[in-house]
Symmetry: C2
Subunit: 235 residues, 2 copies
Amino acid sequence: MNGSEKKTALTLLSGGLDSATVLYIARERGFRLYALSFEYGQRHAYEISRARLQAKNAGVEEHFIMRLDPTLFRGSALTEEKIPVPRDRTIDSEIPVTYVPARNMLFLAHAFALCESYEIEDVFIGVNALDYSGYPDCRPEFIAALEKAAALGMKSGVEGHPVKIHAPLQTLSKTRIIQEGLRLGVDYGATSSCYDPGPDGTPCGHCDSCVLRENGFREAGVLDPLTSAKITNES
Amino acid sequence: MNGSEKKTALTLLSGGLDSATVLYIARERGFRLYALSFEYGQRHAYEISRARLQAKNAGVEEHFIMRLDPTLFRGSALTEEKIPVPRDRTIDSEIPVTYVPARNMLFLAHAFALCESYEIEDVFIGVNALDYSGYPDCRPEFIAALEKAAALGMKSGVEGHPVKIHAPLQTLSKTRIIQEGLRLGVDYGATSSCYDPGPDGTPCGHCDSCVLRENGFREAGVLDPLTSAKITNES
């Protein structure tokens, strides 16, 4: 890579609030932007349209959208229509039924392969272990262990330039994430957080993800453009 | 899972000599057999037909064949037609051009997801760090680090029954692997090791994988049914 050129960051971009914010953080840190999204049979596949929009708005140069075999994911409310998404759940330390098996490891393994194929050393991911649903693959100890495995198992690691996983939201509250994103110019009206949206993307307002988002905007003292626009349209 | 039932092992099955042997080792250890193979744009996709045959012969109950996006793998002689597979190379400690980015992490991440989806706790993989091509993702330190990451990031790990990666060939020479497989009844005539086979699967005889296989059979003092059958046919 030419030393005078910007380095490239590959951001895992779901189309949700967190990953959109991370994309803008990577941009602020001076990286050229690549992004990676997945179709994996998620019931909220609407989010992919938001990922495309975020990628376009932020100036992403390459946006990979990859498909994972839906056979991989059984027993999750996010991938099986017959398992309902919990509504107005008390979010505790239990792993909820919206957990998707080995999802972040799969996402990151794909990112690592792309890193070696495109000479990228920096991966950005929007994991957060504060205002989150209790997924173990969002915890810092998992991210650190996987980064270590990648350094040991990949050519780039052996050759002394291991892939680094950046998780800049890791210890931020949802409110802080939103404040940071607003400072960076993220259009949160063009994101989708809901696990069970309507066909036009309308959030349910009751799943973990909607509840965490709503609380975050309320505590930040700002309106969520996604839901407030809707109110405006309806009034 | 019913305690009186056999446990299930998921074996990563390429259709090569090593993974076929591992499948029979899992069977001997008393597991029910599931298997997982990948199409990833490999030039030796012929191996998948051998994986199917091995799965059938060994009594595999579920054989998953998944496709990985070929965009993931650039710069490898195994996935890019324009990069030639080295012939009669001196196999040293360098990582060769047949290295495929993050391949074993991708394979194992898929296996982990299936484990949680099908209540499996045991994954078998034919990695070997003795008579091998020098791929870092075949080394025991990588396998151990990834197993640890899985324990931290997966529901099964948090709940106290982490997935175990079995790598029974890890420290065996190719000769010992072949001896073990012959004892277990593996039909090595129905495997394919070559990186660059002919359309009918005929091995090139010159790639790392052919060379390691040939040396292994020679030192074991037995004929390779794959190449000796060919000689018989030709005579």
